[in-house]
C-alpha cells in the first residue's frame, strides 16, 4: 500500500513534467531535451526563494513556475525561433546544446552541491495501514490542481483552443488565422512553467542537485513515448502509470533498479505497441 502512495506522488510529478514536453513536441514539432534542465532550474529557483529569501514554500513554488515559464519563452524566442525552418534534427540538437548551456549556467549560478529544502512535511499520520504526511498530500493536490487548470485552459479559453488547433494541424491553424507566435509563446510558458513546478516538487521529495535534469529527462521521455507523444491526456495517464510501476517494482526488485524498470516498460511498449498505449489516431510518422 505504501508503495502505491509513493507511486502516486512520483507519478503525478512525472505527469506534469511530461505534459510540457508533449505540448512542445506537438506544436513545435521536436523533442526538447532541455526540458529536463527547466526542472533543475525550477528546483534551484524554488530553493533560493525558500532558503535565502525565506518565503513560504507555496509562494516560492509559484514564483519558480512563473520564472521558469518566462525563461522558456525567452529561449524559444532567442534560440528556437531563428531555426524553426531548419527541420527537426537541427532543433533537436539545438535543444541538446541548450541543455548543456543551461546545465553549465545553473552550476555557475547555484553551485554543484546537493541541497535540501528546509521545508517540513508536517506530521505523519496513518490512514488505515498507510503512512502519509500533509506535505505529500499537498504535492499530489497541487499537481492535480495544475492538471485540472491546464485542462480547463485548453478546453475553455480561446488561447487554449488555438493551442489545440495548432497541435492537431499547424498549417491549417495558421491559414484559419490562429496567431502562431502568441500560441508558441503560450505553449512555451505553460510547458516550461510546469517543468519548473515539477522541479520544485522533485526537490521537495528528494534533493536539489545540478544533475537532476539529466536523470529526469530520461524518465520524462519514457513517459512521453508511453503516452504516445501526442495526446495530452494519454501522457498524463502514462506519467502516473510509470510512477506507479517504478515504485511498485520496489516490492519485487531492489530500488536501485527503478530506472531500469521504467525503461524495461518503455522498450516493452515500443515492441508491442509502437504507437503508444493511449494513442487514438494512428502514430504520426516521425522525422
Amino acid at each position: 500500500m505504501q508503495s502505491i502512495i509513493f507511486g502516486i506522488i512520483t507519478g503525478s510529478i512525472l505527469a506534469i513534467a511530461t505534459v510540457g514536453l508533449s505540448m512542445i513536441r506537438q506544436t513545435e514539432g521536436f523533442i526538447n531535451i532541455a526540458h529536463g534542465q527547466f526542472l533543475t532550474l525550477g528546483a534551484f529557483v524554488g530553493f533560493f526563494f525558500v532558503s535565502e529569501v525565506e518565503l513560504n514554500i507555496f509562494v516560492a513554488g509559484f514564483l519558480a513556475t512563473i520564472i521558469v515559464g518566462a525563461v522558456g519563452v525567452a529561449v524559444s524566442l532567442i534560440v528556437f525561433r531563428p531555426i524553426a525552418s531548419s527541420g527537426p534534427l537541427a532543433q533537436l540538437f539545438t535543444s541538446i546544446g541548450l541543455a548543456y548551456l543551461l546545465f553549465g549556467l545553473i552550476r555557475v549560478g547555484f553551485g554543484a552541491s546537493v541541497e535540501f529544502f528546509p521545508t517540513s512535511f508536517g506530521t505523519r499520520f496513518e490512514v488505515g495501514s498507510v503512512n502519509v504526511t500533509m506535505g505529500e498530500i499537498l504535492i499530489v493536490a497541487v499537481a492535480g490542481l495544475s492538471v485540472a487548470a491546464l485542462a480547463l485552459f485548453l478546453t475553455r479559453t480561446r488561447l487554449g483552443t488555438w493551442i489545440r488547433a495548432t497541435a492537431s494541424n499547424p498549417s491549417l491553424a495558421e491559414v484559419r488565422g490562429v496567431p502562431v507566435s502568441r500560441v508558441s509563446a503560450a505553449v512555451w510558458f505553460v510547458a516550461s512553467g510546469l517543468a519548473g513546478l515539477a522541479g520544485v516538487m522533485v526537490g521537495l521529495i528528494g534533493n536539489v542537485n545540478s544533475e537532476m535534469g539529466w536523470q529526469q529527462i530520461l524518465i520524462i521521455l519514457a513517459a512521453a513515448v508511453l503516452g504516445g507523444l501526442g495526446s495530452i491526456y494519454g501522457v498524463l495517464a502514462a506519467g502516473l502509470l510509470l510512477g506507479l510501476a517504478m515504485d511498485l517494482s520496489a516490492l519485487v526488485v531492489p530500488t536501485a533498479y527503478r530506472t531500469v524498470v521504467a525503461f524495461g516498460v518503455l522498450i516493452l511498449v515500443l515492441v508491442l505497441r509502437p504507437e503508444g498505449l493511449f494513442s487514438v489516431a494512428g502514430r504520426k510518422e516521425a522525422g
Binding site: 555557475v108 531500469v260 515500443l270 516521425a286 522525422g287
Partner: protein
Amino acid sequence: MTGVLFFFVGVLTLAGIYAIFAQVLNLEAGWAGMWDLGLVGLVAVGGYTYIILTQTQNDEVVFAPGLPMWVGIIGAAVAGGFAALVIGVPSLRVRGEFFLITTLAFAEVIHQLTINLSSVTRGTVGFNQVARPFESFVQGRGYRLLLLALVWVVAGLVYLVMRRLVNAPYGRLLRGFRDNDPVALSLGKHTNRHRIFTFVFAGVVYGATAPLYLWFLRTVTPSVFSAEVTFVAWTALVIGGIASKSGPILGAGILLLITETVSLAQGSGDFAVVLSSARFIVLGLVLILVMRYRSAGLISEQRSLGGASQRMAETAS
C-alpha cells in the same frame, strides 16, 4: 612547458578516440538515417566486456578469466554487435524519434546495470590501472605518444573503411533509403535488414574500439560511460558536417581542442566549479551556434560526396 605539450598529446588522443566514435555514428546517423542517442551504451558493453575478460588484479569479481588482450578485443566486438542486434531488431521497426529514444533508454539501462551489478562490474569502484598493450617496450611519458599514434592509426583505418563503404553500392543504398524509404522498398531492397546489419556493424566497431578509450583513461567506472560521450560524439559530427566523409574527424579535433583547453585553466574552491562548468557552457554554445549558422556543418555532404548527391539534388529540383 613539456607539461603543456603532454596535455595536448592527451587532448589529441581523446580527439582521435572521438573521431572514431563520430565516424561510426556518421555511418549510422549520417548515411543510414538512424539517430542513435545511445552509442555510449554500446561502447560501455564493449569496454566492460574487454575489462572483465582481461583483468587479472581483482579477485572480488565473480568472473575473471584473465584472458589475453586480443581475446578481450574480439569479445568486446562480439558483445557490442550482439547488444546492437538485441536492441536493433525491436526498435528499428520504428524509425526516427522512437529509435532515438529507445537507444537513449538502452544506454541508461546499461549505465544503471554497470552501477548495480557490482559482483561483475565492481559498481562505482570500477577497475583501476588498466593494463595497456606494448607497455613493456615504452616507459612513462613516451607511452602517451605511442597511444596517440595507435589511436590515430585506428581512426585512419576506420576512415578508409568508411570511405570505401560510402562509395560502394552499399553506401549508396543506405543513403537511398535514408532519403526515400518507400522507393528503396519498391525496388526490392530489404531496407530493414540493411538497417539492422548497419547497426550491428556499428556495434561491432564501437565494441572493438572501446578498449582504446579504456587504455587512454586507465580506469573503468560507470561514470566514464555517461551520456556526455554520446553528446560529444554527436556535437563533433554535426560541427564537422553530418554525412560527409572527413567531417567527423575535423569536428572531433576542433571540439575537443576547444572544450579541453577550457578545462586546462585551473582554479580553486568555488572557482573550480565555475571552470568545470565552463566546458558544458562552451559545448552547448558551440552546438547551438553551429546549428544556427551552419547546420550542414563545416564540410557538407554535397561538398564531400560531390557528384552523386549534386546530381540527385539537381534532378530533384
